[in-house]
Amino acid sequence: MSFAFPVRAPRLFVALAAAGAVASSFAADIKLGAAEALSGPAGQYGQSIRNGFQLAVDEINAAGGVKGNKISLQFEDEQGKKEQAIDVFKKLIFQDKVLMLFGPTLSNSAQAADPIAQGAKTVVFGTSNTADGITSIGDYVFRNSVTEADVLPETLRVASKHAGVKKVAVLYGNDDVFTKSGYDAFKKALEDLKIPVTTTETFAKGDVDFKAQLTKIKASNPDAIVLSALIAEGAPIMVQARQLGINLPFIGGNGMNSVKVFDLAKGASDNLWVGSPWSLGNQTPENQHFVVAYTQKYKAAPDQFGAQAYDALNIVAGALAKIKLTGNLETDRKALRDALPVATHTGATGAFKFRQAKTKDGKPAGYDAQQAAIVSVTKDGKYLIEK
């Protein structure tokens, strides 16, 4: 028992208190942003995406957060408009000072808004952008949405193997970025696989009648119809095709990968082949956990958008766990960017890792998704996985 003890005690006490203060300042919320189309024509996708994010955040926070810090995810509505996306990005990055942000929902908005994040050295992570020209913006741009160029060759291969497809007709929406770039990917894949095209027809968003195109397709005698469409047009197309007596298989892009097709095209929804990194029927434990949790929380089956959002948040959480947050925004943002490219994750969409893309001039840029596609065919109101 030294009499120096009481003298040292206050310093020790102060040191402890300081350590305690520092420690408690580290148990702060991790602020992330999500700019998605919560209203407007892309609203249904944005809402699925929001659900996926929220489910992941709630799960992570319930389990104690990332190294004790809870994630706080701030949603902003970018309405599916590029100007709104830009404004919302700026707000989240400069005003709310988020560590990184997710979104936007549409590829067009991403092309306009992602440069803002790149310029501000803040990671932007898209979960539904599939067009070209996004990850080539720079090395702060990430996405886990697998592009059609990666998925379609696999879909075509499996479908033609099972359905004996020798020649196809192609039908696509030529006024929508998603369906048009899907068509570009299909066209290239068909050329690579040397499958001849009997006729190529187009439609526009909001069309209600496809019989002119379908009649022409029927007369050209294909073995299958390759369809790049969103469900809104895709479902009526399938119904009208069956009405015209066209009983050929449909080969769809991942816009057709949604359980809504069973409702909207009831009775005509069989024999649709789709490829996607995610399938409702995929029996892996991670996917089943996600499907059950999502259905319980939102009282509806999840779709691809929700699944990719859910996985994206988990990927980021995983990367966050590996870095040390200093409280300095600039440093932390850079640390996250450096930790992400090597992140891997096995989630609802299966095994995932990043693959670096190039800028237009060939320099290394942002990061695309590297994932295997699952090909399924519809039968009796379900997606059955085929290999």
Partner: protein
Amino acid sequence: MLEQQLVNALSLGCVYALFALGFTLVFGVLGVINLSHGAIFMIGAYAALQVVTKLAFPLWASLLAAFVVAGAFGFAIDLLVLRPLRKRNAPHLIPMIATIGLAIAFNNASQGLFGAENLRFPSGVVPDTQLHFAGVQISVLELAIVLLSFALMAGLLFVMRRTQLGRALRAIAESPKAASLLGINVEGLFYLTSTCAAALGGVAGVLIALYSNAVFPLMGQPMLHKGIAVIILGGMGDIRGALIGGLFLGFAEVMSVAYIGSTMRDAVAFGLLFLVLLVRPQGMFGKVLERKA
């Protein structure tokens, strides 16, 4: 293939005509381009959908519901928006702008209420049978739409040409001031026209929603654009013009898909429209003179 495409053109044309009939009626009598007609069309479809899904009523009840609900909206629009503008003698472009605002409000309200996704009528509401004859096929619903649009056109023409009511409406179309001096109840007939045109639009909404298997908040907008093209081609305000213009547009669209290439479809349709406007702006059956006060 040609015969089937002709049948396709007929049914598509009648779909457009069905929408355009209500649209042209409002212009003919009130002199207003009612750009909220698309929203009314959508409201009719949703009303019918609610009746069928929530109350499990049969098809005829849902058509009635669409007729009544859309008609009510038409009446309300006339009472609350168009009438005050009439009383103020606003230049005729102002009501058009007001209807644009209404369309935006209604479309987005329904998105907020019902969600942005596509819904559909439960299957079985309309029999799915296809009729085959002479190597072509047409579904029961399409045939119904074709017959209905011809019947409506005939009925409306009959009213316009052979009845007192029709005579009164034609007088108003010429000159509302003169008509009221003649003792015609101009305001009352304006209400009637707005209500009936909207009711027709609502019924069109249900039929086309059944035909296309899709009910969604913005469903009226593409139809509105086509409707504008139809009434310009056929002549604004003319009932025959709505049907003939509709058939013309349907024919042009289907034939350009079948024989030119589907990418050019809209270019052909709007190019034709533009040409008609330059060469004969009043359309096929329209009158050249602008209405007098």
